[in-house]
Symmetry: C2
Subunit: 459 residues, 2 copies
C-alpha cells in the first residue's frame, strides 16, 4: 500500500491492540493496525491459550479419580497426542486467518509489517508512511527476557513460544524461573510425561504472591514429580551439540542435565526497535503512561498492554484498551485505576492460584491496619463433590479500620471462578457487614466466603 | 432427662437450627436443641447433599468427553453402584453420630424427641418440659407436599426422602413436578439409567426462574432422554399392587406407567404438630416472622429456615440463624434483608442454573426501568477448556435508571461458582461503571461479565 492517513494507528495486534482497534472502528474512526507476526498476539498463540490447553486435561483427569462412579470409568492414561492436537487447534495451527476476517468485518485496515514511529503521529512500515490524525497507540507487548548467563543464548533455549507450541515432549525438561510461566509449564510438561526440574533464583516460587501460595504450588509440583531447586542461581549453561543435551552449572557447583531448557525469568517490553528515538523516548524501556494510557509529554501517543508495564496480563491490556479508546474518543473522565500490581490474576496450576488486591505484606507496607483470615479451600460442603480433599488455602486481607477487604488469595482446585467475587468485594469496597448479606448458595464451594466471614467475626 | 431450664431452646436440628445453636452456645448461652429425627436435617440426608452426590458424577463424566486427551482415557460407563455407595457416604448411612459430637463439643444439650410448644417459653418433649429464659426458636423445616390427587397417597409415592436415599434405580421413574427437586432428580435418575418421565402441571418447568432457564434445562433433560409433559395435570394415580407398577391418568386422558413415582410439587411447613395452638398460632401454616426472625406478637418466639417460608434454601436458613442469634443476643440493628424470593439459588442440573435477585418479569412488575443483556454462557475464551460448546444463557437484569444490576441468571456448565460475584453486584449495588473496573481474569470463564458489560455498553 502507499502512504495513507487514518484517525488512529495501532502498532501491535495482540489482545489489547485488537480490542482497541475494534472499539475505535465501531465508533466510526478510520483505524489501521500494524502487525509483524500473528494477529492475536502472544496470548493467543504462545501464552495463556496454549498453556491452558496443555494444563486442563491433567487437571480434569485428576478430578475423575476423586469422584466415585467416574473413577471406575477411567481406565486409560492421558492421551498426550490428543492433548497436543487440541493445543494445535487452540492456536489455530499458528494461522491468524480468523482474525483477518474479524478486522475486515469491522473495516479496520491491516498493515502487515514491522511498525516504527517516525515522528509525531507518524508510523513507518517498510516503505510506507502512515499518518494519524488523532492518535498512535503502541501495543507491541513484551518478549521473554534472556538473562546474561554464560552460554545461555548460545544454547538456544526454549522461551514460552517454543514451550507452548512444541510438537514433542522432552524426556527431561529444565525450567529456569519459578514465576507464573515457569510453574505453569513445569506442571504441564510433568503431566505430559517429562521429568521436570525447576530452578528458581529467589528463595521461593511465585514470589509476588502470598508465601502460602508459592509453598502450596511448590508442594503440588513436587507431588507431580517436579524437582525444584529454589534459592540457587545458574552460573553457566552448556549445550555442546545443537539440539543435544543441556547442562546447567548452579552457583553452588551442582550440575543439572536435561534434553531441553525453558527460560522463564520474566518479560521485557517490546520497545527496542519501534522508533522510540524518533519521538525522543528511550528504546528498550517500558512506556510510562498516565491513567488514560497517554505517554507523558506526547498528547497523541498512547501505550496499552504489556508494553506500558502496568500489569502484564491479557485482561488488563483489554481493560486499558477500553480506557484508551474512550480517552481517544474524547471522554474526559475515564481512568484506569485497577491495573497495578493488585490486578486480578490466576495461575492455572493444580492447585490454581487466584488473587486480587494487596498481599498481606503489601498491605502492611501501605500502612493498613491489616487483619487476615484464612480457611482451607476444601473446607465446604461443596468440596465433597468438587476437588474433594484437595490442598490449598483461601485468605482475605482486611483493612480492619475500614472493615473492607483489600486483598484475596485463593489456592485450590478450580478456584479461578472464585476470583471475580473477590474482585467485586475489593474494587467495589463492599463493607464486611454487607458481605454477610451476600449469601453464598449451598452447596456451592463459594461458601468459602462464609468460612472466611465466620473467621473474621470470631476475630 | 427431667424438666430443665435453658437460655434458648431450638426445635429442629437442621442446618438453620444447628447453626443457631452453635452460635448461641459459643456466645455462652445455655442452649438445648430438640430433634425427633436426624441431626443435620433434610438438607444433609434427603436433599441438597445426596442429590449433588447423585448428579455430580454424570456431570463430570460428560465433561471428560469434551476434553481431548481425557476422552481417550475414559473407556467405561458410569459405575452406578459406586455412585450410590458414595451417596451413602455423603449421607453418613443416615447416622448422625458426627453431629452429636459437634453438639457435645459446644456444650449444647441434645434432646431427642418430638418437641411441641406448651405455652410461653415452654417446650414439651415426651414427658419432659423445657423452659427457656430467653427464647424459643422453631426450626422444624418443611416436608414434601402431597397434593390431593385420587389414589396418590395410597400409591405410597417417593418424596425427596426416598428418591435421595434409594438403594435401587427404578427402570422407569415418573416424576410429578418440574420444580428444583423434580428436575434435579429427573436428571440424576436418567444419568443412572432410569427411563424418566416428568409431568409438570404448569406451562413450563422451573416456573420461578427466567423462562430461558426452564427452556434450556428442559432441552437438556430431553437430550438426556427424559420425557417431559408440561401443561398437563395428573387426574388419578393407581398402584394396584404395593411396590408394583404405578399408572398415572392425565387430565387429557393419556396414561403413563412407571415402576416408581416421585412427588415433587412443593413443600409445606412442618408446623402441623408442634403445639402452635398452645401459643395462639395456627397449626400447619408458615410462621410469619419479621426481619429479626421474631414471630409477630410473641417477643420470645423466633422461627428460622424453611418453616418461616421466606426462602426455602439451606443457605438462607443459615443466614437467618445468624440474624436470629444476634437478635437474641441483644443486637438492636441486625436485620435479614436478602432472604426473599431474590435470594441466591442454584439448581444443579447440567446445565446448572444459578440466579440471584429479580427476574426480568419481577423487575418490570416492581416498576423498574428494566434493561436486560445476555450472552451465551460458553461465549468466552475460557470456555474452550471448560464446558466447551455447552448450552446456556447468561443474563443480567439492570435497573437502567440507577445503572445497577438487580438480577442475574446464569445457565450453563458449572456456573454455580459464578453466582457469588453476581450476588455481590446485586446486594452490594455496585454501579455498572464501577463493574468495568472489576476486570475478570483471562482466560477464566468469568469473562462472561465482560461479554455482558459490552452488551450493555453497546445498548
Amino acid at each position: 500500500m502507499g502512504d495513507a492517513d487514518f484517525d488512529v494507528i495501532v502498532i501491535g495486534a495482540g489482545p489489547a491492540g485488537e480490542v482497541l482497534a475494534g472499539r475505535l472502528a465501531d465508533a466510526g474512526y478510520a483505524t489501521a493496525i500494524v502487525e509483524s507476526h500473528l494477529l492475536g498476539g502472544e496470548c493467543s498463540y504462545y501464552a495463556c491459550m496454549p498453556s491452558k490447553a496443555l494444563l486442563r486435561p491433567a487437571e480434569l483427569l485428576g478430578e475423575t479419580a476423586r469422584v466415585p462412579g467416574v473413577d471406575e470409568a477411567v481406565t486409560g492414561a492421558l492421551d498426550v497426542g490428543a492433548v497436543l492436537r487440541r493445543r494445535d487447534e487452540i492456536v489455530h495451527d499458528l494461522d491468524d486467518g480468523g482474525q483477518v476476517t474479524w478486522l475486515e468485518d469491522r473495516g479496520i485496515t491491516l498493515v502487515r509489517g514491522h511498525g516504527r514511529l517516525a515522528g509525531e503521529r507518524s508510523v513507518r512500515v517498510g516503505d510506507t508512511t502512515l499518518h494519524a490524525r488523532r492518535a498512535v497507540v503502541v501495543a507491541t507487548g513484551s518478549t521473554a527476557a534472556i538473562p546474561p548467563i554464560a552460554g545461555l543464548a548460545e544454547a538456544v533455549p526454549w522461551t514460552n513460544r517454543a514451550a507452548t507450541t512444541s510438537a514433542i515432549v522432552p524426556p527431561r525438561l529444565l525450567v529456569l524461573g519459578g514465576g507464573v510461566v515457569g510453574v505453569e509449564l513445569a506442571q504441564a510438561y510433568a503431566s505430559l510425561g517429562s521429568d521436570v526440574t525447576l530452578i528458581e533464583g529467589g528463595p521461593r516460587v511465585l514470589a509476588r504472591e502470598e508465601p502460602f501460595a508459592g509453598e502450596e504450588v511448590c508442594a503440588a509440583l513436587r507431588e507431580h514429580g517436579v524437582e525444584i531447586h529454589a534459592g540457587v542461581k545458574v552460573a553457566a549453561v552448556a549445550r555442546p551439540a545443537p539440539g543435544g543435551e543441556v547442562t546447567l552449572t548452579l552457583d553452588d557447583g551442582r550440575k543439572l542435565t536435561g534434553d531441553e531448557l525453558l527460560v522463564a525469568v520474566g518479560r521485557r517490553p517490546a520497545t527496542a526497535d519501534i522508533g522510540l528515538d524518533a519521538v525522543g523516548l528511550e528504546a528498550g524501556e517500558y512506556l510510562q503512561v498516565d491513567d488514560r494510557m497517554r505517554v507523558e509529554g506526547h498528547s497523541w501517543l498512547y501505550a496499552i498492554g504489556d508494553v506500558n508495564g502496568r500489569a502484564l496480563l491479557t485482561h488488563m491490556g483489554k481493560y486499558q484498551a477500553r480506557v484508551a479508546s474512550l480517552a481517544i474518543g474524547g471522554d474526559e473522565h475515564v481512568r484506569a485505576t485497577q491495573d497495578g500490581p493488585g490486578a486480578p490474576r490466576v495461575i492455572f496450576t493444580d492447585p490454581q492460584v487466584a488473587a486480587v488486591g494487596l498481599t498481606e505484606a503489601a498491605a502492611r507496607e501501605a500502612g493498613i491496619a491489616v487483619r487476615t483470615v484464612s480457611s482451607a479451600s476444601s473446607g465446604t460442603a461443596g468440596a465433597s463433590f468438587v476437588g474433594r480433599s484437595t490442598p490449598g488455602t483461601a485468605q482475605l486481607v482486611v483493612d480492619g479500620d475500614r472493615g473492607i477487604v483489600v486483598g484475596a488469595t485463593f489456592v485450590g482446585f478450580e478456584v479461578a471462578e472464585w476470583l471475580h467475587a473477590a474482585t467485586l468485594a475489593v474494587v467495589g469496597e463492599i463493607p464486611i457487614e454487607r458481605l454477610w448479606d451476600c449469601v453464598p448458595a449451598f452447596p456451592a464451594r463459594s461458601e468459602i466466603w462464609l468460612r472466611l466471614l465466620e473467621a473474621y467475626e470470631a476475630g
